[in-house]
């Protein structure tokens, strides 16, 4: 493979995977924007959705329908999680809230491992055709292409939901100024629950798509950690930032795998987003489009 070809192949693969990251990152940002919770349980949200979808698919339900079913379960679980665990913690210090999400992630992970075990499972029969698709000189696995398309469609739906529907506007208003939104009759508790439900659903779809690419096991929850570099890059409370950050982290990760692996053999692909994040934080801690916070005594 020629050098230029490798470059474009890496770029497209990175963008395609980045689409999935962007979807999950969007879920993360929605929770943070609406309720101020910094969620470290995102990885567990992805595997729960993915395992539910896989279980339905294995039972013979068509893939699209099993995704929809996992969305419904995600909705219920999201609302329950918010009501049981996070509703009581509004206004608590940052460490408390983060550690509750960490506790939540331990709990959910234990439950998932208990129910589904730790072996890698694959979607059988394969959901997407195995034959790669050729566009010009690029050869792309059709799994990647379809995942990207699905992720982009969902991203568009979510952005549309925020810009044009009544509920979406209510969520934006709460994120902007909670007090003003409350006085205009927006129910903050509804908004928090909706944010968690959306995050659960987005993460579940992201996990199912990634499970289609690599097979599904507990390590898919690594996706939930990869979201963090993405949102740091884009800015913690910026929806366009999350999308751009997700795509950029996907591309960066694949470039690191393609070009840096010869210098640092081993898992440089998994580590590079975090190294990048630390360096980025040193220079631009609020990300590309995040709000700068000015502190006073």
């Amino acid at each position: 493979m020629s050098q230029g070809n490798l470059f474009f192949m890496t770029l497209t693969t990175g963008l395609m995977v980045g689409g999935i990251y962007a979807l999950v990152a969007l879920g993360w940002v929605i929770i943070y924007k609406c309720s101020g919770v910094l969620n470290l349980a995102m990885g567990e949200l992805t595997i729960i959705g993915a395992y539910v979808a896989l279980t339905f698919y294995q039972m013979g339900v068509p893939f699209v329908l099993s995704i929809v079913l996992s969305l419904i379960i995600g909705l219920v679980l999201g609302i329950l999680t918010e009501r049981i665990f996070l509703d009581r913690l509004i206004g608590e210090p940052i460490l408390t809230v983060i550690m509750v999400t960490v506790g939540l992630s331990f709990f959910l992970r234990g439950v998932v491992e208990f129910i589904w075990g730790t072996d890698t499972r694959v979607f059988t029969p394969a959901v997407f055709p195995l034959k790669p698709i050729k566009i010009g000189f690029l050869v792309i696995g059709s799994v990647y292409l379809w995942s990207f398309v699905t992720a982009i469609i969902l991203l568009l739906i979510l952005v549309g939901f925020f810009q044009y529907t009544r509920w979406g506007l209510a969520m934006q208003a709460t994120a902007d100024d909670e007090m003003a939104a409350l006085s205009l009759g927006v129910s903050a508790r509804f908004v928090y629950a909706a944010a968690w439900a959306i995050a659960f659903m987005a993460a579940g779809v992201g996990g199912s798509l990634l499970g289609n690419i690599n097979g599904l096991n507990i390590s898919v929850s690594y996706l939930g950690l990869l979201v963090l570099p993405a949102v740091v890059l884009g800015g913690l409370n910026s929806i366009p930032g999350a999308i751009v950050g997700g795509l950029a982290i996907g591309v960066l990760q694949n470039f690191a795998g393609a070009y840096l692996d010869q210098f640092f053999p081993g898992g440089v692909k998994q580590i590079f987003p975090f190294v990048f994040m630390v360096i980025f934080l040193l220079f631009k801690p609020y990300g590309l489009w995040g709000w700068e916070r000015i502190e006073r005594v």
Binding site: L38, V100, V102, G103, F106, R109, G110, G267, F274, L281
Partner: protein
């Protein structure tokens, strides 16, 4: 958390008395009983129980550094296992690979020296990842400490350090290599003696640091870092000092733990272990050394009790035994959530209340 109230009718007349460790005769008596328990009773228990106590001690050593960072300096860290791994690997490598002069090995100095080197190296490594704390805080600092975990354990140690000498993934420590002076550390009881000395030394070091200038600076930074800076505290220096001390203790913990293991591998220091340590101090109560001890005891003992409690159920539902690890994870997660929601001050707050009740009795007003 403030000190407990003094018993009725006890007053301080000078500063030396006010700053004393053990302020009344009753407390001194309690400490003598504690010392008898620690040094004379526990070592003679069954080795299974000594093993559990060793686990508690290891957790205390690990959580002490986390408590120093989170509870006293306000720098949240979620990557402490990385520094323990640095200590453990430094110590193991020095014991196994370093060309010690014969006399050192003969006198049994190799392992104690390697503990010290491991601790210093872990402290410096911790400072390296604490550097961003000069610029960022809160959530962003959490991210950099997480990155410390992934870069150190999952990349540098797994891919490079663990392969030194063609050992593959796990370093095995042949019996007899872990030796302090004339004693070879090979039974739970001997590990226990090493543990109790290290734990007491570390607790003494941290407690003394906390009541001197660095400790007051750390607490000022925790309470309000901008105000602390205007008071003339060099906040970057003291934050990094806090990272160094925390890493130092983590290094000691890691280097100590290899005496209890036949082999070390990166799987002994996963990210979940870092989170576990933070959970331990939250359950015990942040910003309190007793809290670290209570939290460690609580978590280790509850997990053991869970294991014992689940054994009879295994007859009915045999899969439970092989899935015990997952039950443990879930229980730990639920315990953290429950403590944060219902008892945010942790176990040490309850202890404080009980102590005050007895100190003030019968006139509690």
């Amino acid at each position: 958390m403030a000190k407990g109230f003094l018993p009725c009718g006890t007053y301080h007349q000078d500063y030396a008395h006010d700053h004393a460790w053990w302020q009344t005769r009753f407390v001194k008596g309690k400490m003598i009983f504690l010392a008898i328990g620690l040094f004379l009773i526990i070592p003679h228990l069954d080795s299974y129980y000594v093993g559990i106590v060793n686990m508690i001690g290891y957790t205390i050593l690990g959580a002490l550094g986390v408590d120093l960072l989170i509870g006293f300096t306000g720098q949240i860290t979620l990557g402490h296992a990385a520094f323990m791994a640095v200590g453990a690997y430094t110590s193991a490598l020095m014991v196994l690979e370093f060309p010690w002069p014969k006399i050192f090995i003969h006198l049994g100095l190799a392992y104690p020296l390697s503990i010290l080197c491991g601790a210093v190296l872990a402290g410096l490594w911790s400072v390296l990842f604490g550097l961003p704390s000069a610029k960022v805080k809160g959530f962003y600092l959490i991210l950099t400490t997480m990155a410390a975990q992934f870069v150190t354990v999952d990349f540098i140690i797994t891919q490079y350090v663990a392969r030194i000498g063609g050992r593959g993934q796990a370093f095995s420590l042949p019996p007899g290599t872990i030796k302090i002076g004339p004693w070879i550390i090979d039974s739970p009881t001997k590990v226990y003696y090493l543990m109790i000395i290290l734990v007491l030394l570390c607790i003494g070091m941290v407690a003394n640091l906390l009541r001197s200038k660095p400790g007051r600076a750390w607490m000022a930074i925790r309470d309000n870092d901008i105000a602390a800076e205007t008071l003339g505290i060099n906040i970057i220096f003291y934050k990094l000092l806090s990272f160094f001390v925390a890493g130092f203790i983590a290094g000691i913990a890691g280097a100590f733990w290899i005496s209890n293991l036949a082999a070390i591998s990166p799987e002994h220091f996963p990210w979940s272990w870092s989170l576990w340590l933070v959970g331990v101090i939250l359950i015990g109560g942040t910003g309190s050394i007793q809290g670290t001890i209570f939290g460690s005891m609580f978590m280790v003992l509850v997990m053991e009790a869970l294991q014992i409690g689940i054994l009879p159920l295994a007859d009915i539902y045999p899969q439970l035994l092989e899935k015990f690890l997952f039950v443990k994870e879930s229980t730990f997660g639920l315990a953290i959530c429950a403590f944060l929601i219902f008892e945010p001050n942790g176990l040490s707050y309850r202890w404080w209340q009980i102590k005050n009740y007895f100190n003030l009795w019968p006139f509690s007003y």
